[in-house]
Amino acid sequence: MAHQAHAYHMVDPSPWPLTGAIAALLMTSGLAIWFHFHSTVLMTLGLILLLLTMYQWWRDIIREGTFQGHHTPPVQKGLRYGMILFITSEVFFFLGFFWAFYHSSLAPTPELGGCWPPTGITPLDPFEVPLLNTAVLLASGVTVTWAHHSIMEGERKQAIQSLTLTILLGLYFTALQATEYYEAPFTIADGVYGSTFFVATGFHGLHVIIGSTFLAVCLLRQVQYHFTSEHHFGFEAAAWYWHFVDVVWLFLYVSIYWWGS
């Protein structure tokens, strides 16, 4: 490391790609074993290995960037490209579920009663909890932007407060959505309405949890002085991801909750 003549990052050998790959193997085979032989040992082992891999791999990236200084401008540019490409792939992931929803809802089959929502389905009122959820996520978009500006201006206390508020709003959304799921008059098994509703909103909820976790890690790092006013890409990546989650919700709300009712 000491005498490289370029600005790029030649990483140290790392065991985490291997452990991550084995974790994926264990989780997928474990799923099959659970389905056919009712044992969750393999799948659980895979999940534990996944968590250990994520923790250590991302810990090492923080060490390489914040403590060893490897994240020079060209390296950071690569990280930015990477995050944008990843979020783009997630956009396509959700696009598929929206495609499924519109395929079924634009031309409802006779089996559904030729209408949408299908006969027998009482959809959730879009102007009750779903509207509150929309307000919560939009507000969290404001607070995360506040956090970003606080970091850029070196306002430590404000950055911590606004980031905490963002995470709390994310958790509030999750809690509200969980109660909605519990109280809903229809289930995932209720035909194509149930399938499209719960798979699309379910994956979105998972992404809210992932995004909240990412922001929580950023909060921990902000408290520990990892971010400087010029260099805080980890936070920016989390903020981008959070905005993406917000936008997906807006599409879900307008398409499934509002138009779809």
Binding site: T19, L26, L45, L49, L52, Q56
Partner: protein, 109 residues
């Protein structure tokens, strides 16, 4: 390695006792920092908010020049976690192969 880690901690203690200074390193020229951190005396706000800045110390630890890979550079706790993860990886992979072998056996009527 343990002596080296001990030396690092002695250096940390000495630097801490000498008080917070600006970030110009006193010994190795290979140590560098991304951006200078604020001096305590420069801040108008209360001295500490939610803990003191330990990043310069960590930068010193991780930029120590021995050839230890980054995932083991913190010593014992890193090694412990690594070995646990590796044990689960190898053990899990073997368990998985056995389970799949058994699952592939035809059911006897």
């Amino acid at each position: 390695t343990q002596i080296l880690i001990f030396n690092i901690f002695v250096n940390l203690l000495v630097n801490f006792l000498q008080g917070l200074r600006s970030n110009i390193p006193s010994e190795s020229p290979t140590i560098f920092f991304a951006t200078p951190t604020k001096l305590v005396s420069e801040s108008n706000a209360p001295v500490e908010y939610m803990g003191a800045n330990k990043v310069p110390d960590l930068q010193r630890i991780f930029q120590a020049s021995e050839e230890i890979p980054v995932h083991l550079k913190r010593g014992v706790s890193d090694r412990l976690l690594y070995r646990t993860t590796m044990a689960l990886t190898v053990g899990g992979a073997l368990y998985c192969l056995v389970a799949l072998y058994i699952a592939a056996q035809p059911k006897n009527k």
